[in-house]
């Protein structure tokens, strides 16, 4: 009890120090903090040190992690073991060192009330943590991903754990062929990922909503997704596809054969944008991996493929007609709306193939095809109108003809009179 009270006191004291120094900038620290002043004068600040890293921002200076007494400029005293100086920590000790504060909710919530404090315990469930415990000093600890001296929160675009930067961060180790060969894993994940639909969205289009490594593998509890959970991993975003797949007969078959759900057809790190080529009896089709010419599965695949191809071909026709209507300057608004709806049905039908039930796909695509055909009909009638804007022309022709002939006769009459 007493111990706890003392601890709380220390925390409170720290908090005051933290808070007052939070206002100080790095230049002030150079004067007040002897660690900073000596090390920066001698130009031996740690590599990659960022003055406004999150710890510095919140007022936690060198001694917060490394121990020692920054109040005295006598090196012998300030960096003595008596003053708790630990110098460069052992890698194996790092999680514990960070955990001193980060696993303490009472302390951490003074900075951010909803902050998590289970990172260290999660970490030790991960492959990284397990290996570290076993004495493997090559695996990632906190600083491997978060850096040691330029730690920034995940929302900061400069941070190594900002979504767009995460693949690069993981790749520092996982792209090292030599290092990875010790663990019998490939070092090509980043290469594959960066060409995948997710990688392109994240790395090229900077869409921070696209999944980075951690979105499937977890953050601190990083593990390869187990076979049983892969559809749930994908299903956190692709809910419809997961639900359809799980209630399909295919899911049962897959689990009997120990097949990996989504991954079996779509791959994992190099997931490409899916397309209609993936289904059917053509060469690129993923169905042909397991199904053969005339088995029932192949028949299903072909019939679903046909439904989609038919839909796409009417849809393409309709789009071409819409384009003509637009270029010719006829009213395209309704047609555009119809096609928007039809396109939605097309997307839904493509999702519905995960039921592996042609009837279900047909049901949705039928509605879409109807919309598309209505659009084609409207486009045709617009073009008909374009070519038949001529009703008044007949009247005008008659009137002009009569007038013209009359004038002609009049001219003749005059010349006759004179002649």
């Amino acid at each position: 009890m007493k111990q706890k009270k003392i601890f709380q006191f220390i925390i409170a004291a720290c908090f005051i120090i933290f808070n007052t120094s939070a206002a100080q900038n790095f230049d002030d620290l150079k004067e007040d903090d002897n660690c900073v002043s000596c090390h920066s004068d001698m130009e031996i600040m740690p590599e990659g040190f960022l003055p406004d890293n999150i710890h510095m921002q919140k007022g936690l200076s060198c001694s917060g992690c490394h121990g020692g007494d920054p109040a005295t400029d006598d090196m012998e005293i300030s960096m003595s073991e008596d003053n708790g100086f630990i110098g460069v920590p052992d890698r194996a000790d790092i999680p514990g060192m960070c955990g001193k504060c980060h696993s303490n909710i009472e302390f951490m919530r003074t900075f951010r009330p909803q902050i998590q404090t289970d990172q260290v315990s999660q970490y030790f469930t991960s492959m990284h943590g397990i290996k570290l415990k076993e004495g493997d000093e090559n695996v990632a600890e906190c600083a491997s991903c978060h850096t040691a001296h330029s730690i920034l929160p995940a929302k900061d675009p400069r941070s190594t754990i900002y979504p767009v930067n995460i693949p690069e961060t993981c790749n520092k180790c996982h792209g090292d062929q030599e290092l990875m060969s010790n663990y019998n894993i490939e070092a090509t994940q980043y290469k594959e990922y960066s060409k995948s639909v997710h990688g392109i969205a994240l790395l090229e289009n900077k869409d921070a909503g696209a999944p980075a490594c951690n979105d499937c593998h977890g953050n601190h509890g990083a593990m390869p997704p187990e076979i049983t959970s892969i559809s749930h991993v994908c299903g956190t975003c692709h809910v419809n596809n997961m639900n359809l797949f799980e209630s399909s007969d295919m899911a049962k078959g897959f689990s009997q054969l120990d097949y990996h759900a989504c991954e079996q057809c779509h791959g994992y790190h190099n997931i490409q944008e899916p397309g209609d080529f993936m289904i059917g009896d053509n060469e690129e089709s993923v169905c042909t991996d397991c199904h053969f010419e005339d088995d029932e599965g192949m028949q299903v695949a072909v019939s679903i493929k046909n439904i989609l191809t038919d839909f796409v071909s009417v849809y393409d026709t309709a789009e071409a007609k819409l384009h003509t209507v637009q270029v010719k300057g006829m009213n395209d608004l309704e047609i555009e709306y119809l096609l928007k709806e039809a396109r939605q049905k097309l997307i839904e039908s493509r999702t519905a193939i995960h039921s592996f039930d042609p009837a279900k796909v047909k049901e949705i695509s039928k509605a879409g095809v109807e919309l598309t055909q209505k659009a084609i009909k409207d486009a045709d009638s617009e073009m008909d109108e374009y070519y038949t804007r001529r009703e008044g022309f007949i009247f005008a022709s008659v009137a002009l003809l009569v007038f013209g002939i009359a004038i002609f006769l009049r001219i003749r009459l005059i010349s006759k009179d004179k002649g």
Binding site: C237, V239, N240, K340, R343, I347, G392, F395, A399, L409
Partner: protein
């Protein structure tokens, strides 16, 4: 002389006809069409009192479908109805009180912020005004 008069008569008829053929389209042209604005900047979408609580409606705002929602407190919201993922039309889910896209299960809140699923961006908001019980939505783009 008779012949001259006859020709003059025909000339008169033909002239009048020609004049008519030219004037009629012009007069028709001058009558403005129903929506004479090339760009829709605001749109009346019906009576506030006729709009059910906790329900939604998709309206055509020019070329853009807009989803108008009256929440369970009677507040009106208007958002672009095309999902920012693949342009599907979103819908309002009465049970979850959220905007939902059926194509890939994208979910937005009532203010259009993307909450979960694939949508990368929030839905664009439209201003809603109620004047004399008439709901008017307005584009917020300049």
């Amino acid at each position: 002389m008779n012949r001259r008069k006859f020709i003059n008569g025909i000339m008169g008829i033909g002239g009048l006809g020609t004049l008519g053929a030219a004037v009629y389209p012009v007069l028709e042209y001058l009558v403005p069409p129903e929506s004479a604005e090339p760009n829709v900047s605001s749109l009346k979408i019906g009576k506030f009192s006729d709009f059910e609580m906790n329900s939604s409606k998709i309206v055509k705002f020019g070329r853009i479908p807009v989803i108008v929602v009256k929440d369970e407190k009677g507040m009106m919201h208007a958002l672009a109805a095309t999902c920012t993922h693949l342009d599907c039309i979103v819908q309002y889910r009465k049970d979850a009180k959220q905007i939902y896209c059926a194509c890939h299960n994208g979910v937005y809140d009532i203010k259009g912020r993307n909450l979960s699923g694939p949508p990368p961006k929030p839905l664009e908001q439209y201003a809603v005004k109620i004047i004399d019980d008439e709901i008017i939505i307005k584009s917020q783009k300049s």
